[in-house]
């Protein structure tokens, strides 16, 4: 039993770090604005599937690490991620039963909230930055990628019996 738990934990953290890696991978400037929020999607999946094990504080820790990696003011992404994951935890029973397309719409909405939060905190902490709708472009790309992320992660969860 404990071996199973340890195994599951390894799988979850591995997927989270792979998500983080995709999040910071260098992309051509043209595609940059469209980068899907990999880490957020992976976190949302685990919070949806196992809300009693991976939820707000996991999101907080990963948010701090992401802030360090991106060189942003510490605390910006941890705040945004934990708020978004809180919403997911509240909705998790419903989200699980939604059809896939409806799930991805909710995810897109969550990503909009996430970016708006980041913009807002950045505005307060760092100073004036022009409001630009292009910051919501990741919501659109994530809309299409969620399907695949969900599929891969669910298969991994079943395969490795993560509970």
């Amino acid at each position: 039993m404990s071996a199973h738990i340890a195994n599951g934990r390894l799988v979850v953290w591995l997927t989270l770090f792979i998500g983080m890696m995709f999040q910071i991978m260098p992309l051509p400037t043209m595609v940059e604005a469209w980068r899907p929020d990999w880490l957020l999607m992976v976190l949302v999946y685990w919070a949806m599937a196992l809300p009693h094990r991976y939820s707000i504080l996991t999101a907080w820790i990963l948010g701090v690490l992401l802030d360090v990696l991106l060189g942003a003011t510490l605390g910006i992404r941890s705040l945004a991620l934990s708020l978004v994951i809180y919403i997911v935890v509240l909705l998790c029973q419903r989200l699980r039963n939604y059809p896939r397309w409806q799930q991805s719409l909710v995810i897109a909405g969550l990503i909009c909230i996430y970016h708006a939060l980041i913009f807002w905190v950045q505005f307060v902490v760092v100073g004036a930055a022009p409001f630009d709708f292009s910051m919501f472009l990741p919501a659109i790309s994530s809309l299409f990628i969620w399907w695949w992320v969900f599929w891969i992660l669910r298969n991994m969860r079943r395969r490795y019996k993560v509970r």
């Binding site: 992309l27 504080l57 991106l70 941890s78 705040l79 934990s82 809180y86 930055a129």
Partner: protein
């Protein structure tokens, strides 16, 4: 069977805790540099890992380049090298002349500083900030505030150093300012980033100031952060609107900030031995006396006849005297610098 109602701390409590911790981090951000540094050292393998696909793409592009492409590239590089080396020959002569003149005036001689080529590993995916991550860190001796340039001009300065990586704030970031000078008439100004990658602006410049579109802005060396004379930007528009208190001057950075791959890290304080003036000026001029006329002799041989350029300071006893006389004042000025 997973429990539907889980005992333990409630989600509201966790959220409150997370928010409080985040706010604490936001407030204490400026004092957390040691933690940030050690965390980013720990996480740097992840950055290297994230860089792998790009490296593989580059490698495969090189590996599968056709013979024809390589030939074209080679020809182009040879041509460039020829042009550059011709320019370098003249430059070497001018550099020595300049050093001697500066020494005559008693001002400190310009030094050649240590440089290291670094590769860009990561570009900010944050639309509000503009920086890049380089593959050199405190192991190489990179320090916070270090100037970074590329082949065309100034890129920015290092703002954060971990063990194997460092983060460079680019001149176009809205929190970056750099002291500049117009090459045409030595007008000084400060160039601030705008947050737009191909635009920086000169703020608080009086409307009567003589700056026109097309002016070249170079670092002024004031502020002791960037060494003097590196090109920064070219002025693209100047508007003197009566409604504004100052002239609105926009410039375009010369460094290709949106497509940099390789940059140079500069150590302005670490100098190469051949430019150390104290006691060594005699030696260094001897070295250059031995070196340069040879090169010029070769050049004159190549050009057939026209031997006048070979007659440089080696044949001119007056200049050698001047060189020897110079040893003392420069030593003094140097010791002054050390004392300061």
């Amino acid at each position: 069977m997973k429990p539907i109602f889980v005992r333990g701390v409630s989600n509201q409590f966790r959220l409150t805790l997370a928010i409080l911790l985040s706010v604490a981090l936001l407030v204490a951000n400026d004092r957390l540099d040691p933690i940030r540094q050690s965390l980013s050292s720990v996480l740097s393998p992840l950055q290297y890992l994230a860089n792998v696909p790009g490296v593989i793409l580059d490698w495969s592009a090189e590996a599968f380049a056709t013979r024809n492409m390589l030939e074209v590239q080679n020809k182009e590089l040879l041509r460039q090298q020829l042009v550059m080396s011709e320019r370098l020959q003249r430059f070497e002569h001018v550099r020595q002349e300049n050093e001697r003149l500066r020494a005559l005036l008693g001002s400190p001689v310009h030094m050649d500083s240590r440089k290291v080529v670094a590769e860009v590993m990561e570009v900010a995916s944050d639309p509000f900030r503009q920086f890049v991550v380089l593959n050199h860190g405190s192991q190489t001796g990179v320090y916070v505030g270090q100037p970074v340039v590329d082949a065309q001009g100034v890129v920015g300065q290092v703002i954060e150093v971990s063990e194997f990586t460092s983060r460079v704030l680019m001149v176009s970031d809205s929190t970056h300012g750099i002291p500049v000078r117009v090459t045409r008439n030595d007008v000084r100004a400060i160039a601030n980033g705008t947050g737009d990658i191909d635009q920086i602006e000169l703020r608080h410049v009086a409307k009567s100031t003589d700056i026109i579109a097309g002016d070249l802005l170079v670092t002024s060396g004031l502020g002791n952060r960037f060494p003097e004379g590196y090109p920064v930007a070219r002025v693209i528009s100047v508007s003197r609107d009566d409604g504004q208190s100052y002239a609105v001057i926009n410039a375009q950075p010369l460094a290709a900030l949106d497509r940099i791959r390789y940059v140079l890290l500069i150590w302005p304080d670490e100098t190469k031995p051949f430019t150390l003036p104290a006691n060594l000026i005699g030696v260094s001029t001897e070295a250059s006396v031995n070196g340069v006329p040879q090169a010029q002799a070769e050049q004159s041989q190549a050009t057939q006849g026209n031997t006048t350029p070979a007659a440089t300071d080696a044949d001119n006893p007056a200049i050698q005297n001047v060189n020897q006389a110079l040893t003392t004042p420069t030593t003094q000025s140097n010791s002054n610098e050390v004392n300061r």
